[in-house]
């Protein structure tokens, strides 16, 4: 009897590149059929965002706004769109999430390795006066922030760049791809042949195993305190700070899945910043059709939105 041919399992194979951008490792996965030169264009899209809007890039629009605090600065339409959207998110979260929180991060020593003391109440009160998204004024294409204020783009810009890169790929007709911005934000495209991408969520509890969720034509963001924190006198302080209280959040983990990477990143950061009051803000995420879960300081997990598809 002739041997039956073995079943051929089709494993999707991708071209992958990883480059440093926005102070993160940005990984791009494209179908094997794509030209390698497409990477140049995808990273080119993100490079433009980095150059024009990153608060850390000298000469960018946001850098100009920060450098000329107190004066009007002419910016482009994208910059206006970003600032208006972010002001709306700040309003939704009662100012807990605020992109003018840079002075707070400096006060907590996130830009000073040698600082080993927590800020005093007086210093906090003084700095909190500079943190207020309402003082970002927009008139036409001009923007002004108050003197002493500083905008930080870390909570949303790389995700905005991922969205533009994903849109670019979609317009080219690519239906299966992944962009992973440092593990904290990802956006994926899927088709019938490859219906989902998988993401491992680290466990905050050593006794529990990591979870694996499935993503399909959506965006994902992750905020936690596993690696990114300030250690002061043996105590970990998260880099995400509640802009109303001025104190770092004590939440352990936030996972948000939303329609755009920009939205999921802002929502994950904002929900994380709310700290102990996170339950009050979950309906906002559900109203925006976002899904995910929060693990609070006590290890209590609260899911919201549609249940995430998990690998068993």
């Amino acid at each position: 009897m002739p041997k039956q041919p073995q079943t051929a399992y089709k494993i999707p194979v991708y071209l992958t590149q990883e480059r440093r951008c926005f102070y993160a490792n940005i990984k791009v996965k494209l179908p094997l059929s794509c030209s390698e030169s497409l990477f140049e264009e995808v990273y080119g899209v993100m490079d433009v965002v980095d150059r024009y809007y990153n608060s850390y890039t000298r000469g960018s629009y946001i850098d100009q706004i920060n450098e000329n605090a107190g004066d009007w600065v002419e910016v482009d339409d994208y910059c206006i769109w970003l600032l208006e959207e972010l002001k709306q998110f700040s309003a939704l979260f009662d100012g807990v999430y605020d992109i003018t929180a840079m002075p707070l991060l400096k006060l907590w020593g996130f830009y000073n390795k040698n600082q080993q003391i927590t800020p005093s109440e007086i210093a906090l009160k003084d700095v909190l006066q500079k943190v207020n998204y309402n003082q970002i004024e927009i008139k036409g294409n001009s923007v002004k922030i108050a003197k002493g204020q500083e905008i930080i783009t870390g909570s949303f810009l790389k995700s905005f760049a991922v969205d533009l890169a994903i849109d670019f790929l979609r317009e080219l007709g690519i239906t299966d791809a992944l962009i992973n911005a440092g593990g904290s934000s990802m956006s994926v495209l899927n088709n019938e042949i490859h219906p989902c991408w998988k993401v491992n969520i680290p466990s905050v509890n050593e006794e529990k195993e990591q979870r694996q969720i499935q993503l399909a034509n959506t965006s994902f963001s992750y905020s936690a305190m596993s690696n990114n924190y300030k250690l002061i006198q043996g105590e970990k302080h998260s880099h995400i700070i509640n802009a109303i209280t001025g104190n770092p959040s004590n939440i352990q983990q936030v996972v948000v899945v939303a329609k755009s990477c920009f939205e999921s990143d802002v929502l994950a950061t904002a929900l994380y910043a709310t700290g102990n009051e996170y339950e009050k803000y979950i309906p906002i995420l559900e109203e925006l059709n976002a899904s995910g879960f929060v693990v609070d300081a006590n290890g209590v997990e609260t899911a919201f939105g549609n249940p995430l598809k998990e690998e068993v």
């Binding site: 494993i11 999707p12 194979v13 991708y14 071209l15 992958t16 590149q17 990883e18 480059r19 440093r20 951008c21 102070y23 993160a24 490792n25 990984k27 996965k29 094997l32 390698e36 990477f39 140049e40 264009e41 990273y43 080119g44 899209v45 993100m46 490079d47 433009v48 980095d50 150059r51 670019f168 317009e171 992944l178 992973n180 440092g182 593990g183 904290s184 990802m186 490859h194 991408w197 998988k198 993401v199 491992n200 969520i201 680290p202 694996q212 994902f220 992750y222 905020s223 936690a224 305190m225 596993s226 690696n227 990114n228 996972v255």
Partner: protein, 112 residues
């Protein structure tokens, strides 16, 4: 007499053989002669390799704007805009870092 006849005959045979060798070399020594002759008698039509290539490209009509003195493309298209002559670090990073991966799971991280 016989000796003279033999010598004369040999000389003619030699001339004939040498003539034959000459003709054989002339005809078969230049192999290209037949293909040239064939191509002359039955010339091939030249193949236009670029005939269908245009199907793979999109066409955009560029109009000359006499007021502005420049060509204008009315079709919206994606363009990577750059300023300055410098190339940023992200674009300098070598293309040779491309690798092949399957759809293995990505890992979420807050470490950047």
């Amino acid at each position: 007499m016989l000796h003279w006849l033999l010598l004369s005959l040999m000389s003619r045979i030699k001339t004939f053989v040498l003539y034959l060798i000459g003709v054989v070399l002339l005809v078969f020594g230049n192999r290209k002669i037949f293909s040239d002759l064939w191509n002359t008698l039955f010339p091939k039509k030249p193949i236009d390799y670029n005939k269908d290539i245009e199907k793979d490209f999109s066409h955009e009509n560029i109009e000359y704007d006499s007021i502005q003195g420049r060509f204008v493309n009315h079709v919206e298209y994606f363009e990577i805009v750059r300023y300055g002559d410098d190339v940023t670090d992200v674009m300098k990073q070598a293309r040779s870092t491309t690798r092949i991966e399957s759809d293995n799971a990505e890992t979420a991280s807050d470490s950047l």
